[in-house]
């Protein structure tokens, strides 16, 4: 198991995740603005504003700058005839093996943002688990979906 899976997900995922981080940031920003208004109106202690500002800054640094990069760097996958091999996680690194014969069906899904970036998420279901590879290139995801579903000879009812 020393060898890591070779494939990486699309580099465009980075931009996408930064946008997600940005959306999260703007929601927090709105809440903070509300807080500041409330502080002024009802003369709450000033440190609430300070804490909110600090949290905002940390959120921006972590979720827009650091996390997407780390996440992208860690995400690797490899699909062979026998297995699907995944590796992901920033603090908790998970390495998962799914034998091809266990795969029951494969789906690709695409939200509006993903569509804009021509990306697609593929989810692989077994009888007990679902595994997702996020933000693959659209065509790559489609190719993968077809190859997995043709490779996965769905086992009979013994699951």
């Amino acid at each position: 198991m020393e060898r890591q899976p070779v494939q990486r997900i699309s580099k465009r995922a980075l931009t996408l995740w930064r946008i997600y981080g940005g959306i999260q940031f703007s929601i927090l920003l709105l809440i903070s603005i509300g807080l500041v208004v409330a502080t002024v109106l009802w003369e709450w202690p000033w440190w609430i504003t300070a804490v909110a500002a600090a949290l905002l800054l940390i959120d921006a640094v972590v979720f827009i700058w650091i996390v997407p990069g780390l996440r992208w760097k860690r995400w690797r996958y490899e699909v062979t005839e026998q297995d699907i091999d995944l590796q992901y996680g920033i603090f908790i690194i998970t390495r998962t093996l799914v034998p091809m014969v266990r795969v029951q069906h494969v789906d690709t899904e695409q939200g509006p943002l993903l569509r804009k970036f021509k990306l697609s998420t593929i989810s692989i279901s077994t009888a007990a688990t679902i595994h997702k590879i996020p933000a693959l290139d659209e065509r790559e995801a489609e190719r993968l979906r077809q190859s997995i579903s043709s490779l996965a000879r769905v086992a009979e009812d013994d699951v």
Binding site: M1, F91, I93, T94, S125, A127, A128, E156, V159
Partner: protein, 494 residues
């Protein structure tokens, strides 16, 4: 069997009772909120409404019975039901895995059975399952014979199947395991069921406490504490004792006459006194085996064996149903397994996590306990400090968890042993494992440690076997075991 048939009329009563049971809590709540019946201070209108509702439930039970019909047609078990929305459920016979018969208190005097149809459902697809609330035993037998004849490709033309065919279709049952009364009583005494009953009683008492005039009590609280503590402690002790006794009696009733039979390719488990239950588990649907040893039973050398099965309906509803051997001497498990699932082996030698994992186990088990002890100690100052001892107990438990963790990969079987509170040993076959993961935090990575997680199918969901803080190379070994030689190795029975 080929014409639409009704269930036995008693099913309308069963429907009624069942709906009532489901609605028992809201009903009770209404009575409680409705003022005190005993003091005559009753609000009549809501009460009348509820009597009306009760009546409607009874009527709906009758209508449900009237509108429910089932029959066999074109190799399908067809069921139609529903009052306003007519629902049709056609289950192809090939999809039917087994029919399970059970008897409740309403069934027994009338010689009826409840039939649960179990199908080969998987996640993704809708589980087609069905229940015939009450039919005559002979009808049930006939249905069973018919279904299994059709299943085996032979389509019976007449209404009555040949007796000889029935004889041929039923292979002899072989009893592989039975529990004697001594084991059942011992199991009842050492079960965790007491805790469940107890929490119910506590919930009940907390309801009553809410209705007490708190303000008045608060004034007298100092006096009350002096004598009160004794009274409360005594009451708690009595309640505990009663709860324990109830749980023992319930367990005895539930597990009386427990026996496991082997019939062709099915495992059949029967149990119960008042309510007789029978479960059928096709052996090729069994995904793995779990052996549990709780803190009380382990020193006595007893364990319980649970089957992890990919089965459908019945298995999901009742957690007890999968228990194949609820209470057995650990050293006798192998003997029984050999008769049923001979490819599973009990293992004695385990590769354990390294000693540097020990303090990690202790922290993992106890950090939450210690964290909770901080506010408890502060708010209930002198006595609250006792909560720290709970944390210390958890440290001790963590040490046990470290000692019990281990793995063994031999041939096609992986055995994984771990403990949270109960010591659990999973026996897994390579071709039954759905996915395997190695999981590592950055801290663990620095210490060359890793956790391993294997997922099996269980009912509609998943059973997860996990073991923490193993050597990184051991986890690699397990993942490699999972990878290697899968090509030549094929499931034998499918």
């Amino acid at each position: 069997m080929y014409e639409p048939k009704r269930l036995h009329p008693i099913s309308s009563v069963i429907n009624f009772v069942k709906t009532l049971k489901d609605a028992a809590l809201p009903l009770l709540l209404v009575f409680v909120l409705n003022g005190n019946i005993f003091s005559g201070d009753v609000d009549w209108i809501p009460l009348l409404i509820w009597i009306g509702v009760l009546f409607l439930v009874l009527i709906s039970g009758v209508i449900r019975w009237l509108r429910f019909s089932y029959w066999m047609e074109e190799g399908e078990l067809r069921i139609e039901y529903g009052f306003i929305f007519r629902k049709k459920r056609y289950i192809p016979v090939d999809r039917i895995q087994s029919l399970d018969f059970s008897e409740g208190i309403f069934h027994r005097p009338l010689n009826l059975v409840k039939v649960s149809v179990e199908t080969a459902g998987s996640t993704g697809s809708q589980n087609a399952e069905a229940e015939l609330t009450a039919i005559r035993r002979e009808e049930a037998k006939e249905l069973e014979t018919l279904i299994f004849q059709e299943k085996s490709g032979y389509v019976s033309t007449g209404e009555e199947a040949d007796d000889a065919d029935i004889e041929a279709a039923q292979s002899p049952r072989e009893k592989v395991y039975g529990m004697d009364m001594k084991d059942i009583v011992l199991m009842a005494i050492t079960s965790g069921g007491a805790g469940v009953v107890l929490s119910g009683v506590i919930a009940f008492f907390s309801q009553i406490m809410d209705n007490l005039p708190i303000g008045k009590i608060y004034d007298e609280i100092l006096d009350w504490i002096q004598i009160g503590v004794l009274v409360v402690a005594f009451t708690a002790f009595v309640v505990l004792l009663i709860a324990y006794a109830i749980s023992i009696v319930l367990t005895i009733f539930r597990y009386a006459n427990f026996a496991v039979y082997l019939e062709a390719d099915d495992l059949i488990i029967t149990r119960g006194w008042l309510e007789k239950k029978q479960m059928t588990i096709p052996i090729n649907r069994i995904q793995g085996i779990r052996i549990d040893e709780n803190l009380i039973r382990q020193p006595m050398g007893y364990a319980s064996v649970t089957l992890i099965s990919a089965g459908g309906s019945v298995l999901k509803n009742d957690e007890h149903q999968l228990r194949m051997l609820p209470m057995i001497k650990k050293n006798e498990i192998q003997k029984v397994l050999k008769m049923i699932l001979s490819d599973y082996q009990m293992v004695d030698e385990f590769k354990q996590p390294p000693s540097r994992s020990k303090y990690r186990y202790m922290i993992r088990h106890s950090w939450l306990g210690f964290l909770a002890a901080v506010p408890v100690s502060i708010f209930f100052f002198p006595y609250g400090l006792l909560s720290i001892s709970a944390g210390i107990f958890l440290v001790f438990l963590g040490g046990m968890a470290y000692r019990d963790a281990g793995w063994n990969a031999y041939d096609t079987q992986l055995t994984l042993r771990s403990r949270i509170i109960i010591k659990q040993t999973y026996l897994m076959k390579k071709h039954r494992v759905q996915a395997a993961s190695g999981i590592q935090t950055l801290f663990q990575k620095r210490a060359d440690l890793s956790s391993v997680k294997l997922t099996l199918t269980s009912g509609g969901g998943a059973a997860v076997a996990q073991c923490h803080y193993l050597e990184e190379k051991d986890v690699s070994h397990i993942l490699n075991w999972y990878l290697s030689s899968r090509r030549e190795e094929k499931p034998a029975e499918s």
